[in-house]
Symmetry: D3
Subunit: 318 residues, 6 copies
């Protein structure tokens, strides 16, 4: 028995919300969300939601604070309107890189955000490719962290590249690159940025063999693009034949596009978890939509069916 | 015995923070707060705060969501750095007009904000002229809501205006205007915007006598200025001799300045709870600083002395 | 699908509970509630409530502490008896005037009561005409604050009074009077009690025109009746032709009845949210029952239908 | 180092509060507590308590709901007034007999009361002779449950009664009677009320030897006195020479005094945890004050000294 | 309507879990629970539990800490796997004797355990014969404490013993013995261990008449058996004709079996709430299974039927 | 001003506790902690702790569940005994590898443990070399995660090894190995266990150059030792000249010692966060004590001095 439910969206990624609604064959719920002239966020729900299960689609991409507050205030409004269970679908989870204290007097903002969401009243969270796995543990409510690996693997398998090497652009991403290299039956390389001696400039150390091979740099997030650009140059220097880039979430904070569009790369492949305006797309820019994956997840949650099945294959290599 | 303490400030109102620190004769604490290129808020505390009582000065004026997140993340960072008691000094408390459900499917964002602050770890809150009194009850931690009435009364008393009438620009502000009229030993008038008949235009009804008198319009908050402008015109129509405006918090959201600077008013008097850039100040613009009041409040909190004494006179009329 | 439910009542207002049950066509649940000889409150539920949704009808009118404790203990008993969702129907919400700190070292008892109810385990609250709107925000659970304005407006509309002026007996009630005056298409006046000079007696200032008109004094709550009596006298002095009084909740704390029955008023109109013993009713005393409104609210909550629709008209003027 | 502190009292037991203050050589703090005409409880603190540790003396004896609400509201007021640590001194803890579900659909009101106190903001609780030990576990804050046994033992030891038998008036009090009998080096007997056969009347079974002995009936609480009266009669029937009664808390709910004053007993000994009006005291009525014990407890709490030492002897028998 | 549900078991009492599942005619859910080589507890749920109501059967008998952690970790895993309502069936509740502070600087571990279970996410608890009734109040979630008295009474009634005396082996168990004696229409005796004088050895005082009677010692828990053995010897010394022992939970901590098997007793009757290995059973050892009682309880919880009915008779004597 | 404090220890690592107390020049507090015969954990504090700040030293190494419950119950006892601030010093934090859901229906036990500690009442936690950084975010109380890198670096620097390569035994530890390699100014290599083809056996891929070099394998935790042994063999196969092993926490779960003592390694270097019985130490086994580091941390916490300074150097490479 599927309970009555409604799907609502904030302003962060309306295109993706429409795709999810289309997959589910339901209209998006009527809601008025946006800034007042003084920038306070305004929310008014325009249809009855009493006893309905609610799904809110909202990526917390830039402007992250506005998008996060929109999400928190929407949750507050739904709860006070006597709705049922509230599930936040957060395709891109902002602040997820701030998941630890690096020096000692820093916040752990990803945890703070988890606490704020729970305090506002959310009952369940669906995310996609969190920056680190322990963020799931920042919540005590159920979290389904979906994986885009199947989507991207299917895309690259079709290319039938025989000399593929999966490359992590820094040591922090080694495990992700290793998992994907196993999924694609490909080699593995790691790039380590280091300073040979005090006073000397940083150098890029490519650990693993990339000479005359097709390199696929994988990362979860591209921000201003600096690391990726250095990685591409390091791979070129080491004799890589061709370079592909895949990253799940593309913030493309300036000057990312400026940097990327001048690189000699085969393709830059990403998803639509963060909205990408048409004018940021350079010629070899490819987008894989996550709409069906998120729509199917909602369907399974409603039916009480397993969500794990959806992204099982990418676990195979473990 | 005054415990060791430090005062820190976010980016919302650095001028006021400096004034408060000057009053206390302490330097502002060293902290790195601000946006990353991707707009995520970055916080790093640059000196040891272990066991120190912390005061954070941050108005949640526009950009309200960024300023609020700065405050929340700073609180998180201080708490994780093993500080003592954290007091948030919030001279202007954003979202305070959203303190109730007006229609039925709205958030109560002022309550949500209170919950978020407490969840982040704040131990006490100091505010100034909250939009409504019950907002104090949104918190279960101590809240000291300061009043600027003494500051403004001292200012207007010096003018020795004998024919003063305090005017509330709408019915919602009647009680505030009444309190001030008693403090200044002045008359009282209320302006009620109404629609005489369905289909007809709104009209301004001035309840009370203002003819040939000096009117002082008082409000807690000026946003885009529409209501105030209509009030001034209504008072003019009713024969008021001169008009002053006093409002505590001046957001001056466009086109407020455009509207105000063309009005025929004696003075526009406000405080510095919200920073006002020099280019927004028109000729008869007067600012009363709240720096000493806030500094003295911190001093009394530290010494365990009464804070109520500070704003007792303005209660006299009740 | 309407879930199985049961309606129970404490001892505060059995007549109203019976009316609500009659509207719903269900018997009141069997429960033993009342004081032991030593005044401790005793509760024993006399029928199985496992998995049933529970509605508890209990006004927290005087004796407020006993009625409140009855409600809290009933909630505890229902929760421990493994019931489903518990909704407290609180037609009159005691302590609601204590919704703010007036001087500085006072409790905010209305917030405390909200906290106690939530701690005891209530899941939703239905109130009627709360003293101030922000009290809804004292809860983080859903609150439906019903309005009696439609009931009273229908009553007065039938009288077809053409020269009606709605009067607020103090400045605090201005907004309520304004809303009602718009609903009834009537004029507006405000009474302000003030002390002309230190040492002088208080005087009543009637702001607005009431001469030769029919005045309708509206208030949310009548306690000992002092303010109302002064208001009637002030209106008479200003030449009002006739005076009606409407107030939602009638505590009628002595000497209220003594005071009221000697007034020259057309009618004293109130509701049955607080039980009114027959011997307190003087000749022109009229009671409008809220039983159907509360019964219909329960019905809509059970069906997941909008409750806002029930009191929409009274919002029209906003 | 003793922190600055203040002692306040509600209206439940002003005599005991004065004794405690006298022991501590401090004046009681200035506070306005009591009912409004409509029976709502009014609290206003009349001196600054900022940063001071607060001790509130309030027995929750009848009228229990009013006394409990006074205590809860006082706690709320102190917390909001920015005080330090709040300790509630509750000499008699009402509702403590309601510490379990006896049948199945009952509240556990003693736990509810513990939850309400904590929710209101109390930091520590001091009680005296709780009805059952596990009630301490109803709190997660520190609870010091004092024992009056030393006080009463010293009183009875002076009488040098050689043939003393301590009697529990029901099986539930067996353990208390056993502990006291060991403390006084006396015999032990238990009275069990039972119904020999269905349809037959109840009978009192005295288990243990009381013939020609001096019986001391001990109980924690005397309410309407029925059980005690039956116990005295049963002891007389079994040939007890003389009967003393000791009970810690004397509610003396009518008709307790009527019943007790006609009994042939040597003395009725009790404490002042519950105020006893002079007209309820019959000739052989003796009161042992707990004022010094409670005063000394506050002193030790302030100094960080052991409280257990105070009532260690009465543990000797275990 | 019975919701979909699944029953899982930890490693503490697999035999009882199988009996419960057999009664319900459902298979036990697939789960991998047990220690890693380093003794950390490992849990993996091997089938989808999304939206299903979950019943976990786990006695917290020795090794109590391992069994408790298994239960807590299972609850965490079920909650994170998006299940419905989680009910913990805890046939023996370890640490329940630690339900109070005996001296003053002790934990109240039974309360701590209650808090840990709730923190882990359990929604309801079913226990059997808790050591003391107030432990139910340690939880604010619903607790059904079943009673084994009917099971044991039916067993002993068949024996038609006309001279039965129910004996409490210590004063703490007086109330339990009294209740059972009434249920079986039998006499009552209490054994009190005391030290006649300082320096003298302990002696056993049998209060009540057992001479030439059949004694039935009843206790809730047998641990190392010391008290019971002393009780049997005391009864023999007082001329009891025959002795039976009944205790609900048999931990049989060494040297309990050594002690018990040499006693001259008719039968040692107990239940299967704690697993008893075959080699601990001496000749006259009888086990009454609680499997059907627990299975029926689950059935009634699912159907929303009264659980109290199940153990009503044993309340008759009260 | 250093507040009065006391240091207590559970049974997990008494040697380390003594070293810490010796550094602080205080005796360990008197407490009775340990199992009852039935394996329930018994705690009794044997000296007054009222108002004292408490430090509890307890590693949650095997038997992890017993050690964790000891810690939780001690915290409960201290809190109920009215102590001040409770800091848990947890040199080894058990369950820290269970910090994420790997497949989908697993617990996040490290988070559960964090929740249980906070629920029991701990105010601050000090750990040493947590398995992953985000575990700090599992707590909302302050956590100081110390680093042993300085201790180990000082040890290895003295050896003046010029051809050192730091080796991570798996990809998950890459970041830790990279940080240490920078601290020691050494090379970096990573071992990746992979399965060349389905059906083929696993192989060890050494990424980076180790030929004729001195390898230092670093890991945070050694459990049964399987991975380390394979790493040593892989390094030998690749021509490493000599091999050192450093790991912070040595559980040495069987057959770890059997495996390690037969390896050809220069030294096995570890710390004393987990107690290592003498008979597990093979010839080239070296222990670096963390006693002074933990003692100094306590000292700084008491004085309100920076703890970060203590392990700053090891951050240098970042």
């Amino acid at each position: 028995m599927v309970k009555e439910y409604k799907v609502f969206a904030g302003n962060s990624n309306p295109e993706l919300a429409k795709k999810i609604a289309a997959y589910l064959k339901v209209p998006l719920g009527k809601i008025d969300v946006g800034p007042y002239p003084n920038k306070e966020t305004r929310v008014e729900i325009l249809e009855s939601v009493r006893k309905k299960d609610i799904f809110i689609i909202q990526a917390t991409c830039p402007p992250v604070n506005d998008n996060l507050m929109e999400l928190l205030i929407m949750i507050d409004a739904f709860k006070r309107a006597s709705c049922g269970f509230v599930t936040a679908i957060i395709p891109y989870f902002g602040y997820s890189k701030q998941d630890k204290k690096k020096t000692g007097r820093e916040p752990i903002t990803a945890k703070l955000v988890a606490n704020l969401l729970v305090k506002a009243g959310v009952d369940r969270v669906v995310t996609l490719e969190l920056h680190s796995d322990p963020i799931q543990g920042f919540f005590d409510i159920p979290v389904d962290d979906l994986k885009s690996v199947n989507l991207m693997a299917r895309y690259f398998e079709k290319k039938k590249i025989s000399d593929l090497v999966v490359v992590s652009p820094d040591v922090g991403g080694t495990k992700r690159a290793r998992d994907i290299s196993k999924r694609l039956n490909a080699g593995l390389a790691i790039i380590d940025k280091y300073r040979p001696n005090f006073g000397k400039a940083y150098a890029m150390n490519v650990i693993g063999d990339v000479k005359n091979k097709t390199a696929l740099i994988v990362d979860d997030l591209i921000d201003t693009g600096g690391t990726i650009v250095e990685a591409v140059h390091a791979l070129e220097a080491k004799g890589a034949k061709r370079v592909y880039i895949y990253c799940t979430h593309s913030l493309l904070t300036p000057p990312a596009v400026e940097r990327l569009k001048h690189l000699k790369i085969e393709e830059f492949v990403t998803t639509d978890t963060v909205p990408i305006p048409r004018d940021k797309m350079f010629p070899n820019f490819k987008i894989i939509s996550t709409g069906d994956l998120l729509g199917e997840t909602i369907k399974r949650i409603l039916k009480g069916e397993s969500v794990i099945e959806l992204f099982k294959n990418n676990r195979r290599g473990k």
